[in-house]
Symmetry: C2
């Protein structure tokens, strides 16, 4: 037996986002991979990334990835649409560990799930107008018909804890009506905030439509990578150690984080 200890499986999962949205990915890791330690970085001082130039967003993402590497990570999840679109291949080139973006996992799951070849995509205005989901779907299947809808209010509804209000139902019905008319059988929740309003979207779209959560698919893909590469953390009694860092003030992040994760979140502010 090789007497070198393989500590790689014990390293953490690094997750970056411009804000709080990526916490739904954290939640999925807690659910699907409860023995993995998470290091989260929310660039709350510089969010939103949407309106920024690609090269600026790429620079921010690389700064954060450099910080995540000080935390001994075995995987980086870019849980942010803008940062994924701005340079996923570029981050992969810079790192010798796997990097998962926020778009591919959901796209793969949606293309597999659809029966009638009609897929809906909902996301922020920035994500939808970037055409990133359509491009990635086309790469896998050119025959699929794609119907995209920008839903700018939904992030605000989630962050302000308004999901269970009548207004939220009305707004969601309004946004999703084109997808119902087009009879899509699969909807990609193309924004990390949306898993927090799955019940509402389900209510509007009905039971027969596949709802694809990027967060869920990312965690599933991580699990596959870890299994395949021998990086799955053993279940032995080494304590997990989650860490949350933000570039802005921690207080709002901690408050929303507690709501997203269902337990208290302690965050440290880090300035580069």
């Amino acid at each position: 037996m090789n007497n070198e200890t393989n500590i790689e499986p014990y390293k953490a999962v690094g997750i970056l986002d411009s804000g709080v949205g990526g916490l739904t990915v954290v939640r999925e890791f807690f659910h699907q991979l409860p023995y993995e330690s998470i290091v989260y970085f929310g660039d709350t001082a510089r969010m939103p990334y949407g309106p920024r130039q690609h090269d600026e967003v790429r620079r921010f993402a690389l700064e954060i990835i450099e910080f995540l590497q000080t935390q001994e990570v075995k995987l980086v999840v870019v849980a942010c649409n803008s940062a994924t679109a701005a340079g996923l291949p570029y981050y992969r080139e810079q790192l010798d560990i796997p990097v998962i973006g926020v778009i591919e996992p959901g796209v793969r799951a949606a293309v597999e799930a659809t029966q009638n070849g009609r897929i809906g995509v909902i996301g922020t205005t920035g994500t939808i107008s970037s055409g990133a989901y359509e491009r990635d779907i086309r790469k896998l299947d050119t025959s699929v018909q794609i119907f995209s809808v920008a839903c700018p209010l939904l992030v605000l509804i989630v962050e302000n804890n308004l999901v269970k209000t009548p207004e939220a139902l009305r707004v969601t019905e309004e946004y999703l009506s084109p997808l119902k008319e087009e009879e899509v059988d699969t909807v990609i929740l193309g924004c990390t905030h949306y898993p927090l309003m799955t019940d509402l979207i389900r209510e509007v779209m009905g039971d027969k439509v596949n709802l694809i959560s990027s967060a869920e698919e990312i965690a599933r893909e991580a699990k596959e990578i870890f299994t395949f590469e021998g990086l799955l953390r053993p279940l032995n009694p080494v304590k997990v150690n989650h860490r949350f860092f933000v570039s802005g003030k921690p207080s709002i992040f901690e408050e929303i984080g507690q709501r997203f994760l269902g337990k208290p979140v302690k965050a440290y502010q880090v300035i580069f």
Copy 2:
């Protein structure tokens, strides 16, 4: 064979100080334990600790220790006289990993080294007036004679890169003359800055006097603890991963850090 992987030896060494002084301890770890990863926290936004109340300093130290624990440490070094004096037993009580203070290791080495039972102690005004070194020496050997001298200018001389100036020689001669008159055979460098002016102190005190560096003794004690507890990091090719955090602006710390360590230092600002 137990198939649980023991990852404890791969954890980092956490070192905290109010500022840059503890970097001489880092330097000794680099020298004596080059395979260990270091996590350093310099509380530069709240230094100096000297003039603060003990309970406030203890609260600061505990905040930093809590942060260091997010970094997976197997040992905490309190490389700060004020923080050590303010609550070393208290930190030990709170943690289930070893904690080394800045005073005991030097004291033990000095008591072992002295032949004539005459020990000099130099330090900042705060350290000397606290009587902490005298108390700790007395605990080990009540017969030793102790001569303490406060040397307030020496920290400034080191931080401002003035060690090789004629003024520095004159000031040091002035400070050390009482110790020469008393014919001490051992001098404890009771401040983490002083290892950076060992040559000058050596020049003034002469070759026959034992100079005890706390930094050196701390690293030696860490090595003993790691050896005894099976925590010594194996020499296999897992990259070391040093990390530097400060509570103030990183730029001055990085500049002085480079001088202290002889290589570039990248520091992140962390705000609690």
